[in-house]
Point group: C2
Amino acid sequence: MSSAGSSRVTMAEVARRCGVSPMTVSYCYNQPDRVAPDTLRRVREVAAELGYRGPDPTARSLRRRHNGAIGVVLGEHLAYAFEDPQARRFLAGVAEVCRERGIGLNLIPTTGEDEDVDRVRSASVDGYIVWTTVDSDPVLPVVTGLHKPVAVHGGPAVPGARLVGIDNRAAARELAARTFGGAHRPTVLSFPFGRDRRSRLETGPDPDHVAFPVTRARLLGVYDHCRKAGLDTCRLPVAVVARNDRDDAAAMADVLLDACDTDAVLAMSDQLAFAVLDSARRRGLHVPNDVAVSGWDDGPDARREGLTTIAQSLLDQGRACALIALGDRGPSGPAAWTASVRASTR
Amino acid sequence: MSSAGSSRVTMAEVARRCGVSPMTVSYCYNQPDRVAPDTLRRVREVAAELGYRGPDPTARSLRRRHNGAIGVVLGEHLAYAFEDPQARRFLAGVAEVCRERGIGLNLIPTTGEDEDVDRVRSASVDGYIVWTTVDSDPVLPVVTGLHKPVAVHGGPAVPGARLVGIDNRAAARELAARTFGGAHRPTVLSFPFGRDRRSRLETGPDPDHVAFPVTRARLLGVYDHCRKAGLDTCRLPVAVVARNDRDDAAAMADVLLDACDTDAVLAMSDQLAFAVLDSARRRGLHVPNDVAVSGWDDGPDARREGLTTIAQSLLDQGRACALIALGDRGPSGPAAWTASVRASTR
DNA sequence: CTGAAAGCGCTTACAG
DNA sequence: CTGAAAGCGCTTACAG
């Protein structure tokens, strides 16, 4: 029965009304066993009467010196994080651990501007997870300088943070071998190179110009294969999309199929691969005979569409990051991956 | 240049080393204009030297009496929230507002157990958003008793919280009219009725037994139409899925098409409608001639598949909830919806 | 432009 | 089983 008025009742107030000391009230909430049953009952009664809802979480955090929450730093467009299947799966893994341990999950959007640093610093969290970002992200040195555990997913690898992710270069090497075998005009449909996110067509781009380490590693893996297979990487068409979205990528998929007349596309995600499949379908092209297509991540739709793709568990990687941010050691070594080979490649 | 050792430097420490008072240091961070340029410079130097990273966010929150964060209470399986297209879109809207206002977004998973209440109470947030839940959710009275602004999405409507959402009953009424017109054996593919999430087939279930108000309202809307059209609601087959997932719903879609021999399915989401389309395709059934199908939410895939569906902006509803949780008035009246009529219905 | 004082609401060894 | 004391790290009127 909470009395209406009292908009902010403190523990001290409850104590006074009960005729006990504040710490006895505190014990009622934190170690009820230590309190005499009668006292406990009285305190609870008075608390209910006064509308006291229990200890203030912020005061408690300050006193205890921990917040019971971890922060997830997400790049540029938080809305995309919810749309992107990989990011979702990853966050689901983080969320699982949070639920198991009863701790909070604080999403920290960043925009690439100066306020990012303040936003990140002013989050009341015990540890951080940084979602894959560019090498020079100013948030990185800030977050690693906070004396709190930090996990970075994907990359970059920085001192003071644990890196979680697969060996993208090795996986790309294998996927290129599966995708480009028997092809004459192989191409790549790539994630953005940097934060500018300009959609465009490049030819044999210099990996050093790629600011996202995950994207760079995948490109390097493709180049590794090309060199081994005697393909000239300088002539390799690489279409860059503005974001990882099936519909948005349609235009660049069309460019690869039309202007480049490609017969094998390695796409850096399942979504991008689907854009190519859509485009091929519109043109009446047969997959894989006219054009081989491969993707990345092996989401549920990949199986449905018979897509060759790199399988990895973003869920597990999310879990690993959460454990690290919580101060655990987490798993050692890179995450696992396999190639799921299906009918979309020769 | 941060010195390595010092694992926790306080403002008081910086002040001492600078030979100024703590509040001068505080002003350097909060109102730098009020501080003499020389003092400001010195304080910054010493702070950098000592590895002081600025005011502790928790202490600042306690002192300022606000946290700069809102909490989003999500039901049962947080992982599902990231997989569910509606929830994602909604969260994206919430996130947009958070980014614009520079405030944190705290995800609070609940499990339906007793600890939920503590978890919700102990989040350091200034306001709450509750994602659609059951009438009797124990979190509801707790969250509305905290003297902080609360927005509930979908339902239930409770005193002390603002409700955001569309008129589900009216929308369902119209959708039923579009879907069931010309059909002889109409059926419904429904969200779970309660937290038990048992998948099953019911016949003319009593809406009062549906614990989720959103689901109940949609069922009531369907019944409204049936009565007007002279259909016997007591015989209406309603297949209930365990969760809103295309693949998971396959079994119940099959049941409707096989055991019920239905020629019109109103599904409560696009995902469930796709499960019916998948099932119809496997059987070589023509849509809409053999079976009319409709969904709900009008996501990007709905247009691609030519699905008749209820269009609403979960993004805008997410934004509205965020504004309310931040203490704004938010929009008044129910949210907007329209019927997107396409080729999947007659 | 800077400081002394009070206090945000709570918890934790430590006595008794 | 309960209390006096100290303090978590900071900010805010208020003087000067």
